[in-house]
Structure formats: structure tokens, C-alpha cells
């Protein structure tokens, strides 16, 4: 995978790749919850979007360098994750999905009305700046490899988490929460920690995206974005390591190439959703893993 991403920008439009990488990180972070803890969050756009606003604001208005701006966005998303997570993990299943959705909607209306986000206009022409004062991010290739590094760091962190004892406990909670509790694990704390980690990494994706595209807008906080990340993960394969990456690339390509079709994009996305749920629940990578008979 790494080799592919190193070579790819020489053949594929780098901005497209960067967009796909940001969403891939977002989807991986989301998958950490649904795939390994069994929590369907329908409000993950809140973390992606608010981190985008914070990074854009600190970089543009306060003149922070990109690494600090992204860090600020990530930290704020993590803090939001603590707040929303603490409220939401008290409930399960559908309740959990609803609550995350509604809390994310609160964040959306805040972003719509807070003066620093500039409402419908968003924060535009955010400077990319110099990374660590050394790397000029205005160069697209430099920017690309920074995004790739960010994605790989996030991806490896998630990979490590899944394969750690902590990850095993998460899976145990997903499979049978009462049993995990009776074994002495404080399920609530584990779930909260996973939620905060997922929110933080979503924030990392959002902050990076804002710097790459020099823009933070309402699209990234709107609930349709929360739906989109579900689509990416479901299509790629819930609970697989590589699934969300594949799913993100498919969805972003679809949007790129179907964009002239206007509202048909929504219809196509809807059809994919329905087909996935009815016939294809393992997703692309999940089905592949079944064929190869090994986890991917």
C-alpha cells in the first residue's frame, strides 16, 4: 500500500489523492468504533468539520504554522470527543446512533452561527504555510507527502490499537459486553477511550484537509458527511483494516467523476447503501478477505 501511495501522485492528480487520503483516515478512525467496538456513530462529521474550522482559523487569523494549526484542530476534536462520547456511550445501538447524530447537529448549528466560521462562506484562502519552517507546503508534491505521512501515522496508530491488548478488550466488548464486564473490564472507560481516539483522528483528518484545500466549510460538519463516512466504511468493509481506505477511495472517485450529474450522486450513493446492506454486507475488502480466507 505504501509503495502505491509513493508512486501514485506521479500518475494520478495529487489533489484528488490528498482528498481521498484525508477521507481514508477519517473512515479508518470511524471504523475503529463501528468495526471494533460495535458503536455506530452518526455524528462523526462534527469532529472532522470542527477540527477543520479550528485549523483554518488558527492558520489564517492567528497566523499559526501548519503543524500547530493541525494540532490545534486535532486537540479540539479530541476534547469534543470527550464531551460527546461521555454523553453518548451511556446508551447503546440505535440510541447511540441517534444521540451522536443530534449532538453533532448542535455542533453544526454552532458552526453555522459562530462569527469566526463566517457562516455559509466558510473560512476561505487559508494559507498552507511552511511546515516546521522548513517545508513549503505551497508545493503540491511536498503537501502530498506530508498528507501521506499524516495518513500513514494515523493508520499505523489504528493498526497498533486494534492489535494491542486494548484492541482485544474492545473486540470482547463488541462481541459480548456483559461478559467483558463480568471479566472485570470497565467497558464504559474502554468505549470512551476508543471514542476519543476515533474523534481525535477524525480531527487530524479534518485539520489536514482544511490546510490542503485551504478551506473550512459547512459541508464537513453537516450530517450528510456523517452519512458519507458510514458509506465509505460499509462499502469497504466494516471491521477490516484496509476496508475503509478502499471505501474512501471508491466514494471520493465516484463523487469526482459523477459530479457533473448533480443530484444523481446522491441517488447513486443511496443505491450503493441499499445494495451493500441487502447483498454485500461484508464490503469489498470483507468479501475479498472471505475469498482469501484471511483477515485483511
Amino acid at each position: 500500500m505504501v509503495a502505491f501511495f509513493v508512486v501514485a501522485p506521479f500518475f494520478i492528480y495529487p489533489l484528488f489523492l490528498m482528498k481521498a487520503l484525508c477521507f481514508a483516515l477519517f473512515a479508518c478512525a470511524f471504523n475503529l468504533l463501528i468495526g471494533y467496538v460495535g458503536l455506530l456513530s452518526f455524528g462523526h462529521a462534527a469532529f472532522l468539520g470542527s477540527a477543520g474550522y479550528i485549523s483554518a482559523h488558527t492558520a489564517k487569523v492567528w497566523g499559526w504554522p501548519p503543524e500547530l494549526a493541525i494540532l490545534a484542530g486535532t486537540v479540539v476534536a479530541g476534547a469534543l470527543g470527550v464531551l460527546i462520547g461521555a454523553l453518548a456511550i451511556r446508551s447503546r445501538g440505535i440510541y447511540f446512533a441517534n444521540i451522536t447524530l443530534a449532538l453533532a447537529q448542535m455542533i453544526y448549528f454552532f458552526c453555522l452561527q459562530a462569527p469566526f466560521t463566517h457562516g455559509e462562506d466558510g473560512i476561505q484562502s487559508v494559507p498552507r504555510g511552511m511546515l516546521f519552517g522548513l517545508l513549503d507546503l505551497r508545493n503540491t508534491m511536498t503537501m502530498y507527502f506530508v498528507v501521506l505521512a499524516v495518513f500513514l501515522a494515523g493508520f499505523l496508530l489504528i493498526y497498533r490499537t486494534i492489535h494491542s491488548p486494548f484492541g482485544q478488550v474492545l473486540k470482547a466488548i463488541r462481541e459480548h459486553e456483559p461478559r467483558a464486564v463480568s471479566l472485570g473490564y470497565t467497558a464504559e472507560q474502554y468505549k470512551l477511550l476508543a471514542f476519543v481516539l476515533s474523534a481525535t483522528l477524525s480531527g487530524l483528518a479534518g485539520g489536514t484537509k482544511a490546510i490542503v484545500f485551504q478551506l473550512a466549510s459547512l459541508t464537513d460538519v453537516h450530517w450528510t458527511m456523517s452519512g458519507e463516512v458510514v458509506l465509505m466504511t460499509l462499502l469497504g468493509g466494516l471491521g477490516t483494516v484496509f476496508g475503509p481506505v478502499v471505501g474512501a477511495f471508491i466514494v471520493v472517485s465516484l463523487e469526482n467523476y459523477l459530479s457533473q450529474l448533480g443530484a444523481w450522486v446522491t441517488v447513486v450513493q443511496g443505491v450503493i447503501f441499499v445494495l451493500c446492506v441487502l447483498t454485500f454486507r461484508r464490503g469489498v475488502v470483507g468479501e475479498l478477505a472471505r475469498l482469501l480466507k484471511k483477515p485483511l
Binding site: 455506530l40 452518526f42 454523553l87 451511556r90 446508551s91 445501538g93 440505535i94 440510541y95 446512533a97 441517534n98 444521540i99 447524530l101 443530534a102 449532538l103 447537529q105 448542535m106 448549528f109 454552532f110 453555522l112 452561527q113 450530517w223 452519512g227 458510514v230 460499509l234 448533480g262 443530484a263 444523481w264 450522486v265 446522491t266 441517488v267 450513493q269 443511496g270 443505491v271 450503493i272 447503501f273 441499499v274 451493500c276 446492506v277 441487502l278 454486507r281
Partner: protein, 295 residues
């Protein structure tokens, strides 16, 4: 007395009225969601799209068949309800043995398809729908002007909600329904056709959404996106009331409409978020909602 707490009475009662109207829609929609959730264990994400379809069917009836509002009030819920029956038979029933989150994802996909199709056909600007002549005009109550149509919406939806509540909580049919939510296998063993009951329940819940759509058509314009953002608020209402609780959704629906209206008078900036704030507060105290219980 021309002002209360520094707010002109006209404005106060005007917003209260709008709040009650919105509350009527919240109540009707969350009632349908609760009925569906009670028996199917599915959060019907397509509810907003079906509400929008209800309004569009009313519009089509008028444009193509010359059938006015009163016919639409009857025909539209039946048409959309039948569509619901088809959806349940062909898709939703395949998911009952799975984690109920798949139901949410499937209906989310359906909502995207329905909304996308209507947006392709009609754009995102609204189509006007004329008010029925019998309900045009209004009356002066002394302290405010009350348009007849709005009074009708409030009375009619309150009536529908209470009738639904009565059927589910107080009749034999309702007791079968409630028994089937507790233990479908046992109820089936008593010779009751549970799958058909589930199908009809979904159709009925969807018909309630369409009914709300017809009621909304003369007030708001008929718009492909009219359900998209409303549904999120309704989810919040359902969570506050407690999923699956019939009375809970009716009461919280109306109450939150009024609270929202009052917020618009006293602190307009918060009017969009007040319901979500209340939701967060309620959940802190009672994670299952005001009238709900853990399933």
C-alpha cells in the same frame, strides 16, 4: 397588556402558534417513528423523505387529477403507505435477523435515493400548494390573529395522535401489537399473523409521515428537501421522549415545538439548537429519554 417580559404579545403569541404548528409536525412524525421502532426495531431514516413524498403526492393529485386538499388528505397517506408496504416486503424484512443498525443504514440509503430523485426532477426550489378554500382566512382572538388553516392543522394532528394512542394502548388490536413487540414467537403461536402485522405497522407509520406532509404542503412549499433537515430534529424529539413510547412522542413533540417557538422570542440565536441542548440535558439525567425504557 401589550407586552410580556418586554416582548409584544402579538409576537409572543405568533411564535407560540408557530411553535404549536411545528410541534404538530414533530408529534406526527415522531409518533410514526415510534410505532415503527416499537414493532420493527428499525429507526426509519427514510421518514423525512416519505413525509416529503406525502406533500408531493398531494401536489400531483392537484396538478394531474384535479383532486384537491381533502382528497389528498385521504389518498396521499394510502399511496405512500402502500409504498411503505412494498419497501418492507422487499427489503426491510430481509434485515430482521441482523443487527438493527442495518435497518438504519438501509433506510438512510432509501432516503438518499428518494430525495435525490425528487431533486433531479423538481430542483431544490419549492412548489406552491394552495390552501383549501374552506380553511382560508382566519379570526381575531382579541390578542392575536389566528389563521383558520393553522388552527385546523393543530386540531387535526392532535386528534390523529390521540386516536393512534387510543388504538395502540386501549384496543385489542393494540394489545396484539404490544404483545408482538415483547415476544413475536409466542404471539405467532397464538395464531396471529405477526409478519403481516409488521408490514401493516410499517405502512401505517409511513402513512402518518405522508399525512404530515399533506398538512405541511399549504404552509411550507412543497420541496424535495423539506424532510431532510426536519428529520434530524424529529430524531432528537424521539430521543427526548424515549424511543418506542407513544405518549412520549406526542407530548414531547408538542412541548418541544412550543419551547422552540418561545426560544425564538426570547433568545433567537439558540432557536435552532435548543432542542438538541434539551436532549443533551435529558440524557444526562435519563439516558433512555423521558418516557422510554431500555430495550
Amino acid at each position: 397588556m401589550s407586552s410580556i417580559f418586554g416582548v409584544p404579545t402579538q409576537a409572543l403569541f405568533g411564535q407560540l402558534l408557530i411553535g404549536l404548528i411545528n410541534g404538530s409536525f414533530y408529534a406526527l412524525l415522531s409518533l410514526g417513528l415510534s410505532v415503527i421502532f416499537g414493532l420493527l426495531n428499525i429507526i426509519n431514516f427514510a421518514h423525512g423523505a416519505l413525509y416529503m413524498m406525502g406533500a408531493f403526492v398531494a401536489y400531483f393529485l392537484l396538478q394531474w387529477a384535479g383532486l384537491g386538499y381533502w382528497w389528498a388528505l385521504l389518498v396521499s397517506p394510502i399511496v405512500v403507505g402502500l409504498l411503505g408496504v412494498v419497501l418492507e416486503r422487499t427489503m426491510l424484512k430481509r434485515l430482521y435477523h441482523l443487527d438493527h443498525l442495518y435497518g438504519l443504514l438501509l433506510t438512510f440509503g432509501l432516503a438518499l435515493i428518494i430525495q435525490g430523485l425528487f431533486r433531479n426532477e423538481f430542483g431544490s426550489s419549492g412548489l406552491p400548494y394552495a390552501m383549501p378554500v374552506q380553511l382560508a382566512g382566519g379570526r381575531s382572538l382579541g390578542f392575536m390573529f389566528l389563521p383558520n388553516y393553522r388552527a385546523w392543522v393543530i386540531v387535526f394532528s392532535l386528534g390523529t395522535c390521540l386516536a393512534t394512542w387510543y388504538v395502540i394502548e386501549r384496543t385489542k388490536l393494540g394489545s396484539y401489537l404490544r404483545a408482538a413487540t415483547e415476544n413475536p414467537a409466542l404471539v405467532q403461536a397464538f395464531g396471529i399473523n405477526v409478519p403481516r402485522m409488521i408490514t401493516l405497522t410499517y405502512g401505517f407509520g409511513v402513512a402518518l409521515a405522508a399525512l404530515a406532509g399533506v398538512l405541511a404542503a399549504p404552509i411550507y412549499q412543497v420541496n424535495p428537501l423539506m424532510g431532510a433537515d426536519l428529520i434530524i430534529v424529529v430524531f432528537a424529539v424521539v430521543v427526548i421522549g424515549g424511543l418506542g413510547s407513544i405518549m412520549g412522542s406526542i407530548l414531547t413533540g408538542f412541548a418541544l415545538g412550543i419551547v422552540e417557538g418561545l426560544t425564538k422570542v426570547f433568545y433567537p440565536e439558540a432557536s435552532n439548537t435548543v432542542i438538541f441542548v434539551i436532549m443533551a440535558l435529558v440524557l444526562l439525567v435519563k439516558p433512555t429519554g423521558l418516557f422510554g425504557r431500555e430495550k
